[in-house]
């Protein structure tokens, strides 16, 4: 990609402009995510860089972890500010988010993996149509899904219940599992299954001892995608969840809408760290999967 030595000055200018432009775009993509991290440690209740934070040498007075204390529900005197309410809502939301997310992930992963196994079989009838139906929750805009589900679930009394929210999240998350696991099964050597069976393994044993270990990286990435889908989902939760099903995104939405409080940025920082962790895990799994399946790195 380097510039050839015979490049003209004009080409050189273009090339450096191009690199500069790309750098600006990368900055545009990533800067907002990292700008919020220092602000979450500000002592001020406003979501801005205060003068004390920008001063050199750094002013320790301007920095604090009071909003993090607020987030975990510690409402002692040095934490409470007149403009920022303090409650255990964030922690309740965290518990609910994990509860809904984990149950939805388990169901979505089980159903999605089974379906992917079926779809990868050469004998699968109506493959295109079924795939289109299974992927559709990912494609239809969330607001339409939310409206449809709200009307329908209200009829069968599932609105404002955990069951309703979990069902909705499973529906939204399964396409990700189906796609990732199907991708892992591409190039899967079916002879291994035949070999296992000819050696006398029953179908269940074949699945758990031969297929499963090979596609496990795909299943785990699918599960992580499913989890993050449920964990970050706000539109469905906004309409279908009552205050009892308060989740982190619902609380953040309320926070941005009503009380612009710096506590939101603390939670946002935690979520950025979580996404870095998940991204790394998925990337490592992808490499491992390629190694297992004998695909050379591109």
């Amino acid at each position: 990609m380097a510039l050839p030595s015979y490049a003209t000055p004009v080409q050189r200018t273009y090339y450096y402009f191009y690199l500069f432009f790309c750098a600006v775009v990368f900055f545009f993509l990533i800067a907002p995510l990292f700008a919020i991290i220092p602000i979450s440690f500000s002592v001020s209740p406003f979501m801005v860089f205060t003068e004390g934070m920008l001063a050199w040498p750094p002013d320790p007075e301007a920095w604090s972890i009071r909003w993090y204390k607020n987030m975990i529900g510690d409402c002692s005197a040095d934490v409470v500010s007149s403009t920022v309410p303090c409650s255990t809502k964030w922690m309740v939301g965290t518990v609910n988010s994990f509860y809904i997310g984990i149950i939805a992930t388990v169901i979505a992963t089980a159903l999605g993996t089974l379906a992917a196994l079926g779809l990868s079989r050469p004998h699968m009838p109506y493959k295109g149509l079924i795939m289109a139906i299974l992927i559709s929750p990912m494609i239809v805009p969330l607001i339409i899904t939310a409206a449809g589900m709200f009307f329908f679930y209200a009829r069968i009394n599932l609105v404002y219940t955990f069951t309703g929210v979990i069902f909705a999240h499973v529906a939204l998350a399964t396409p990700f599992v189906v796609i990732t696991v199907t991708a892992t099964l591409v190039g899967f050597d079916m002879n291994m299954v035949k070999a296992a069976q000819s050696l006398g393994a029953k179908p269940m044993r074949t699945f758990f001892k031969v297929i499963m270990p090979l596609i496990l990286p795909g299943i785990i990435s699918g599960a992580l995608f499913a989890f993050i889908t449920s964990f970050d989902e706000v539109v469905i939760v906004m309409f279908m969840a009552s205050i009892d099903q308060l989740t982190i995104p619902k609380q953040m939405w309320a926070g941005i809408r009503q009380e612009i409080s710096p506590v939101i940025l603390c939670m946002a920082t935690c979520l950025v760290l979580l996404s870095i962790f998940l991204l790394t895990t998925v990337e490592l799994l992808r490499r491992r999967s390629e190694k297992l399946r004998g695909i050379k790195a591109r």
Binding site: M124, V235, W253
Partner: protein, 425 residues
């Protein structure tokens, strides 16, 4: 010499014809494959497809009000609007009895529906029902129902109220769809434009398209060079830089939206930097959020990965030798790029462009939070009618139109890219 071809069928060891046995095995395999998919298919149909279907049915459904005023509506259809200014006596009579004897809750629901057609119905009917109940209690039978109604309230002599019945007299009606496009039915049931002050949806539809087109163009301009760089760098560096693209992709939408509010608000990071640099004065801070600019900036950043990833996967496989060959044959770099490289990236551009566009028109969270008053898209109206006005018919119709547009674009996407070619990460 004669050649005999054996027509006897091949048999398996069990004595069953081979063809039959194979077909049986084939069928068994099909059923097995289907059984694996079945649980999820059933789940998605019940929890997702049926709700969407239910919503679409609701968008053409007006049966509730028709069950409350069946006779009135039947008589109303007999009214010859050319001949008489007001509906015939029978309409008033049927309405009289249906208001007097109807179920209070059902009438209440119907009133809400009537108010969508013309504001003022609710209070008019409530008052009238009270008076009618008094008359019934006294046991009087009015000589002329028409006169009685007009005596109760002079609006009963106002034909514009009666004309609005046109919007409700059918069990299945397209009125919500017309409403969603700022149209309504006039006295003859013809489709006409709404009153000036009730026209708001076409404006929002147009803005939704405009914003989506802009976001797609911005994403293309920003994404193309980056995808090109990623595709041409050695793997070691491109994998590292890919994190910049994938991390926003993995981060919560709300976090990214919040981050943009922090960046763009009046005393936010960008204004702060501009003031510090002396580009703008302290009281000349730019309003960049809670308007259309905010929506555009935030949505471009949020949807950019969806443009870069398909472009990258297409550019990755374009042989580098093509550009060199073109230049060897005497093409200037610009010509080589336009004539040789660019045409090969068209699949990537169309895939990324369609994906970004389709995602943008259905966007709700970001425009709602950073859009302020003039940056909201059609999704906000759907949410508003779902949660605030409870005009679910209109909500469903807006959703139905949006869904239809999406399906057209996805059909295109499927033609060009193939829906099962979607890759993640």
């Amino acid at each position: 010499m004669e050649v005999t071809i054996s027509t006897a069928e091949l048999l398996t060891t069990d004595g069953i014809p081979l063809r039959q046995s194979l077909r049986k095995a084939e069928r068994r395999n099909k059923i097995r494959a289907f059984l694996l998919v079945f649980p999820l298919l059933l789940f998605i149909i019940v929890t997702f497809v049926m709700p969407i279907g239910d919503m679409l049915l609701r968008s053409v459904d007006d049966s509730q009000i028709n069950s409350v005023f069946p006779n009135t509506f039947d008589e109303y259809k007999n009214w010859d609007k050319g001949a008489d200014e007001l509906p015939p006596e029978e309409v008033y009579k049927s309405l009289f009895f249906e208001l007097a004897n109807g179920d209070k809750r059902q009438i209440g629901k119907a009133l809400t529906r009537m108010n969508y057609a013309k504001s003022g119905w609710k209070s008019l009917i409530k008052k009238t029902t009270r008076e009618i109940k008094k008359i019934v209690k006294k046991g009087e039978e009015p000589v002329s129902y028409k006169e009685t109604f007009i005596k109760i309230n002079k609006f009963w002599g106002d034909p514009t109220y009666w004309y609005s019945f046109n919007q409700m007299v059918n069990d299945r009606s397209s009125i919500y769809y017309w409403n969603a496009l700022d149209r309504t039915f006039d006295e003859d049931g013809e489709v006409v434009l709404q009153d000036e002050k009730r026209r708001m949806y076409v404006k929002t539809w147009l803005r939704t398209f405009k914003v989506s087109v802009y976001v797609t163009i911005f994403c293309l301009i920003l994404g193309f060079p980056v995808a090109h760089l990623l595709a041409n760098l050695p793997l070691r560096y491109s994998n590292l830089l890919m994190i910049f693209v994938l991390l926003p992709f993995w981060t919560s939408l709300l976090v990214r939206t919040t981050a943009w509010i922090v960046m763009l608000q009046q005393n936010g990071v960008i204004n702060g930097i501009l003031v510090w640099l002396g580009v703008i004065s302290d009281d000349g801070r730019i309003q960049m959020v809670y308007n259309e600019t905010g929506t555009l900036i935030a949505m471009t950043q949020i949807l950019l990965p969806f443009m870069i990833l398909p472009l990258y996967s297409v550019m990755r496989v374009i042989p580098k030798s093509h550009m060199r060959a073109a230049q060897n044959l005497g093409a200037k770099p610009a010509t080589a790029f336009i004539r040789v490289y660019l045409p090969q990236t068209i699949p990537g551009i169309s895939a990324g462009g369609l994906l970004v566009f389709v995602l943008a028109i259905g966007y709700f969270i970001t425009p709602e939070l950073v859009g302020g008053k003039d940056g909201k898209l059609i999704g906000s109206w759907i949410a508003y009618h779902l949660k605030t006005t409870l005009n679910w018919g209109l909500c469903a119709a807006l959703g139905g139109i949006l869904l239809g547009i999406m399906l057209i674009f996805y059909w295109l996407y499927n033609k060009i890219v193939g829906i099962d070619n979607i890759k993640l990460g």
